[in-house]
């Protein structure tokens, strides 16, 4: 690729994108606090809060969580607008400009979904959609940060051979897919649509697939930092997440069965479990993207072999 067509690295844009990703994670924490504190309907109207678009209500009780969540969401929305405009102005890669605007569209959709769930009194399927879109948005902002990084821009695809025993491209997509299913099962339980049992059963599947993918990735491509780093991240986060899931089950389902109000142990284990889930999904996205960038498709590898033996 010649320098004229190679995209330029914009340090400011990359740092901004990274900061946005962190803010989205904080927003996910804020959202999880709303649900864990049963505060989803503490502010009954939307898009106003107690009839006003700008006045801050007394931040006590459940209002503190719900309105706090809305304020952080507005800030994230503003950051996303800046990101989209900034990307449009400086990015040579057309797909990245489109990605920036797509992020803006997503965050607007997420805001609307949040409003709909409040106005319709938190039906489980709308709240679940809101939760799933939140983690999707986080994963995409994380990818945006990756795509604007110096390492990504200056590196080229490694053209690694697909291993016979491992189709990392397929496995990494499967990893993302099973995490989405598990996210749905967890969010649906959290919002009253499903029993917790499918989520626990799902955890066994997810653990098996994530372990398989990560270990295989490290075995086959352990010397490739773009693959090694997210694979290790997934392994580490998986074990933390399993522990948090068990803690959340104990505090919320077993010990908290007859609790008269959300207890700190219930709140923090569930919030941590949601947040870790978001990080895990984000890492899985990164692994999938890196696998597709650096590992040749199995069909291309087969063709190479054919050509070589011809």
């Amino acid at each position: 690729m010649n320098s004229a067509s190679q995209p330029a690295f914009h340090k400011g844009l990359h740092r901004f994108a990274t900061a946005l990703a962190w803010c989205v994670l904080i927003l996910i924490v804020a959202g999880a606090l709303v649900t864990s504190n049963d505060a989803g309907l503490a502010v009954p109207d939307w898009p106003t809060s107690f009839g006003s678009l700008y006045k801050i209500p007394p931040m006590v009780g459940g209002v503190k969580y719900e309105h706090g969540h809305r304020m952080i969401a507005q800030f994230v929305g503003l950051l996303t607008i800046i990101l989209a405009v900034w990307t449009q102005r400086v990015e040579k890669r057309v797909w990245m400009r489109k990605f920036g605007w797509a992020l803006l569209g997503l965050v607007i959709l997420q805001g609307v979904l949040g409003g709909i769930t409040v106005l319709t009194l938190l039906p489980w399927y709308v709240s679940t959609g809101h939760g799933m879109l939140a983690q999707t948005f986080f994963s995409l902002t994380l990818l945006f940060s990756v795509f604007t990084s110096k390492r990504w821009i200056e590196a080229e695809a490694r053209g690694l051979q697909a291993s016979e025993a491992l189709n990392l491209r397929a496995l990494s997509v499967l990893t993302v897919a099973v995490l989405y299913v598990q996210l749905f099962l967890g969010a649906a339980f959290r919002h009253g649509g499903l029993h917790f049992l499918p989520h626990i059963i799902g955890a066994a599947f997810v653990t098996a697939i994530l372990l398989w993918t990560s270990i295989k990735a490290l075995t086959a491509y352990g010397a490739v930092p773009e693959i090694k780093k997210p694979a290790i991240g997934i392994l580490a986060l998986l074990f933390v997440q399993l522990g948090l899931g068990f803690a959340a089950y104990l505090t919320r389902v077993e010990w908290g069965r007859d609790a008269v109000q959300p207890l700190p142990s219930m709140v923090w284990t569930t919030v941590a479990h949601v947040t870790m889930g978001a990080l895990l999904l984000g890492k899985a996205f990164v692994l999938a993207v890196q696998a597709h960038r650096h590992v040749k498709p199995a069909s291309a590898a087969a063709l190479d072999e054919k050509v070589a033996t011809a």
Binding site: Y125, P198, A298
Partner: protein, 276 residues
Amino acid sequence: MKLLIIPSLSKHSFVIVATLAGAMWLLAGCEQKKPEAGSHEGHASSAAAPPQQAPAPINPAVTGTVSGVVTFAGAAPKAATIDMSQDPACVMGPNAGKESVSEAVVVKGGKLANVFVYVKEGLPAGNYGVPSEPVVIDQQGCRYVPHVAGAVAGQKVKFLNSDPTMHNVHPDAQANSPWNITQTPKGDPIEKSFTKPELMMKVSCNQHPWMRMYLNVVPHPFFAVSGLDGKFEIKGLPPGEYTVAAVHERLGEKTARIKVAEKQTATAEFGFGATQ
């Protein structure tokens, strides 16, 4: 690189994902909670509200009474302490310096309070009318008062806010339409009615998550709530044989078959226990 990654799924991977997705779809049809034995939150009553009917044949000169006591056997569960510190206004006024405890299971001297007792079966068909006086539910010290109440289907329920803080009144109705309305400190009352019978409708406040009460809507006026002494009394019943039910928010339902004679008082006793 292209923005859109075309997934290069192998056949096996696809089958796994499709199976999981299919299972997810099927499971999404499952309700989270199958009603546990004795749990009555938000259940529609078996006695459906009849359409406009002729007035029920009640001769006030010969009506009888059902009275009794609701008891609790075994060690009463320790009432959980409520932490109201997230809103300073909640620990002012009547709550100042006092420990707030849960009203979920209130037992005093072996007697169980807050049990909704009502005539479940046996009433003559007819329209029993709707009282013109509203059922009044107040919010005092960040608690709903009373903790359990009954209303006739169609009767007005008036929610007051006597607290110096904002509340939102949120009936989580199942048979009726749910709603969620903010009430400013000492603000205007909220007056609503519920037209369909529904037992143990949870009414909560999302600004103060410990606040809850249970409203029971039935198609007739023959109900009562047991007091701290466990006692209840239902007056004005036509003579006849009835099934009377006692429902508790956690301990479930007990029924008793009684016979009310003209101008007599029949007794019904209900016993709940720690092993419910």
